[in-house]
């Protein structure tokens, strides 16, 4: 009886994961093999690998894909460099009772929609925006600087969008760091830099790996931020995929194939990141 109850309780989550995550992917994989979708009435479906071959054949699509990979890697590194000191301050340097409050303050903006945040950044960076206004007020510039619709604005927006994905794993790793270890290192003469490189960083490698994997995957699939903040020269692969699904010429198979290529590539890189930085559980316990 207890076994049956357990199965019933498990059934919900399992069905949810299968229905909401696995089923759409399976359907996308099926569509990626079709010759046409949505198909006209009476069209006999034909399966093949043409959509995957189209990716390999097209230098334009491959360039867009590489652009996404490189930008995601850059965003990941920048996010790590910018967020690690912040997470360190909150987890290690601030009093324990305040840490959660600081974290909450940083998380609060993310309760709003990504679209709203993108438009807020547009207002900030526009010709008549706050940043250009401040630069002119300070006499640094006379004419507004073009800050929108280029790589800078895309990077700015995406970096902001992925902040949380990096901050939370880093905070979780840093907050578990035993303070005695840092004290012991200091007692034997290790300076701040030495403590950071030889104690703190190695012991938070699992948080770094998790944050980097999450940020890389999030950046790779980002759509709203680059679509709103980007310009004609900043098209990412996710936007190319989006345009294929907006086509009425039956281009969904190409979009589905490209989507799966992006997913598999992203997962492979994420797996490599976590493999490069395995957790040091033995030292933590």
């Amino acid at each position: 009886m207890a076994g049956a109850g357990r199965i019933l309780l498990l059934a919900g989550p399992v069905l949810w994961v299968a229905g909401a995550n696995v089923a759409p992917l399976v359907e996308m994989a099926r569509i990626s093999l079709l010759d046409l979708y949505p198909a006209a009435p009476g069209h006999a479906a034909r399966y093949g690998l043409e959509s995957y071959a189209a990716f390999l054949d097209s230098a334009i699509y491959r360039a867009s894909f590489l652009h996404s990979l490189v930008l995601s890697a850059v965003i990941t590194v920048l996010a790590l460099l910018m967020t690690y000191p912040l997470a360190y301050l909150i987890a290690i340097r601030s009093p324990a009772r305040h840490g959660a409050r600081y974290l909450l303050l940083l998380i609060a903006p993310f309760w709003t929609s990504e679209i709203v945040r993108a438009f807020a950044i547009m207002l900030l960076l526009s010709n008549h925006g706050a940043l250009n206004g401040a630069l002119r007020w300070l006499g640094i510039t006379e004419a507004p600087l073009p800050l929108l619709y280029d790589q800078f604005s895309v990077g700015f927006g995406m970096l902001y969008a992925v902040l949380l994905a990096m901050l939370l794993p880093l905070y979780a790793a840093l907050v578990r760091l035993p303070g005695e270890l840092l004290d012991a290192a200091a007692n034997v003469g290790a300076g701040p830099w030495s403590r950071l490189v030889r104690v703190t960083l190695p012991l938070t490698r699992d948080g770094i790996a998790a944050g980097c994997a999450l940020v890389f995957l999030t950046s790779l699939g980002a759509f709203a931020m680059p679509a709103l903040l980007g310009g004609a020269g900043t098209t990412l692969f996710s936007m190319t995929i989006g345009s294929l699904f907006a086509s009425s010429a039956g281009r969904w198979p190409l979009g589905a194939a490209f989507g799966l290529i992006l997913l598999v590539s992203g997962l492979a890189v994420a797996a490599a990141i976590t493999r490069l930085a395995p957790p040091h559980r033995a030292m933590m316990t």
Binding site: M1, G5, L8, L9, G12, P38, A40, P41, I60, Y61, A63, S64, M122, S126, N127, H128, G129, P146, L148, Y149, L228, G230, G231, A232, G233, T235, M239, T240, S243, L244, F245, A246, S247, S248, A249, R251, W252
Partner: protein, 373 residues
């Protein structure tokens, strides 16, 4: 068996009872969800572009008929068609928006059905030019109710673009490098016109190779001139933002997109360039197997009968209407913002419905290549 006690309650909830309650809730869910189904009672589901149902008309219709009008917003034809195709044969919408050049495509895809024209009175309020248009009928059966006229225009900032442009070529003028914007799909066809090709595709119905060459030439031009453009946009609101912030000073768009800015006194005007522009008529069609077909006809009939509907549509959607009394109640500024002059009207050309399939297959592919290139 373990029990779960709820604080402050004398009842005891056993695990079995909890599971039973969960199962019951699961079984009851469809009944609860059914309340919001597409065919639930006195409702009408309309897939329309922003402003295509004037608020005052909608309010009056709902009050007089008791039918709740539910609007699903669309912003362009291709995604709307994809959605309707995915929903067939049990659609979630009763009336959809279809442009004249796409009527045959929507019909062939089995997402719209011929109108029962006898059920609609007041056809005479629509300009015969549109009622008698060949794109409106399939096998002589009228397919939709023409409402608004959309025309692609070249919009410019009067203070920064001098003299006023009269050619699509202005978009390639180095003086405006990085200060232009366009919808790739639409500007590709404008570029075809600029390059002397037939952007309506009418000339290519039986000549797909020639069409491919013309599209490729326009595509290559746009890829080559990419530094000229600041932003590819899809949403009119984004273009409005670009113009208001002086990010762009020249753009391809639809006449209605910038009407609000002109009314607000911004230094924005539009022209139809001498090479011509592609135009089409927005229509309401009844969806095939519409769950509330009777309500759809009541809605369309009431729309045609509503006093001043043409100008009401123009004010809410921003486009010139297809009604015979179009513009009668508009102010001089509204006429400037919404309507095309007789000289401009002479320059417009309607997109060919006969070539729509060819158009979609070539243009969509070129759009992806310009976007990614």
């Amino acid at each position: 068996m373990s029990d779960i006690r709820i604080a402050g309650d004398r009842s005891t909830v056993t695990r079995r009872a909890l599971l039973r309650a969960g199962a019951a809730a699961g079984l009851a869910a469809p009944a609860v969800l059914r309340a919001s189904r597409a065919d639930a009672g006195a409702v009408l589901n309309v897939t329309a572009y922003d402003g295509f149902i004037p608020p005052a008309f909608r309010q009056q219709f709902e009050q007089q008929t008791g039918i709740e009008v539910r609007v699903r917003l669309a912003s362009s034809q291709a995604p709307e068609l994809n959605l309707l195709v995915a929903e067939r044969p049990s659609p979630l919408t009763d009336i959809c928006t279809v442009t004249g050049n796409r009527i045959h495509q929507f019909f062939d895809a089995e997402v719209i059905e011929p109108l029962d024209a006898e059920r609609l009175r007041n056809w005479s309020r629509i300009d015969p030019l549109y009622i008698n248009a060949d794109w409106l009928a399939v096998d002589r059966a009228i397919m939709a109710v023409p409402l608004l006229l959309g025309a692609e225009v070249l919009v410019y900032n009067t203070q920064q673009v001098t003299p006023p442009p009269d050619s699509w070529g202005a978009m390639f003028n180095p003086r405006y490098k990085g200060r232009t914007a366009y919808v790739i799909e639409d500007f590709l066809q404008c570029t075809m016109l600029y390059q002397g090709a037939d952007g309506t595709f009418a000339a290519y119905v039986d000549h797909p190779a020639a069409a491919q060459r013309a599209v490729n030439a326009a595509r290559d031009r746009l890829i080559r001139e990419k530094p000229q453009v600041l932003k590819f946009y899809d949403d009119g609101a984004v273009l409005q933002q670009l113009l208001v912030n002086d990010d762009v000073v020249l753009a391809q768009t639809y006449a209605g997109t910038v009407s609000r800015l002109i009314l607000a006194g911004k230094p924005i005007r539009f022209v139809i360039p001498r090479e011509g522009s592609i135009s089409f008529v927005y229509n309401f069609a009844v969806v095939k197997n519409a769950p509330n077909r009777d309500n759809a006809y009541r809605f369309l009939d009431a729309l045609l009968a509503y006093p001043g509907i043409g100008d009401a549509l123009t004010r809410s959607a921003g486009y010139a209407s297809t009604f015979t009394d179009a513009g009668a109640s508009l102010t001089a500024l509204e006429r400037q913002a919404f309507l095309l002059t007789p000289d401009q009207l002479k320059r417009i050309r309607f997109a060919s419905y006969r070539a729509q399939k060819l158009n979609s297959s070539l243009i969509d592919r070129a759009v992806e290549e310009v976007n990614a290139g």
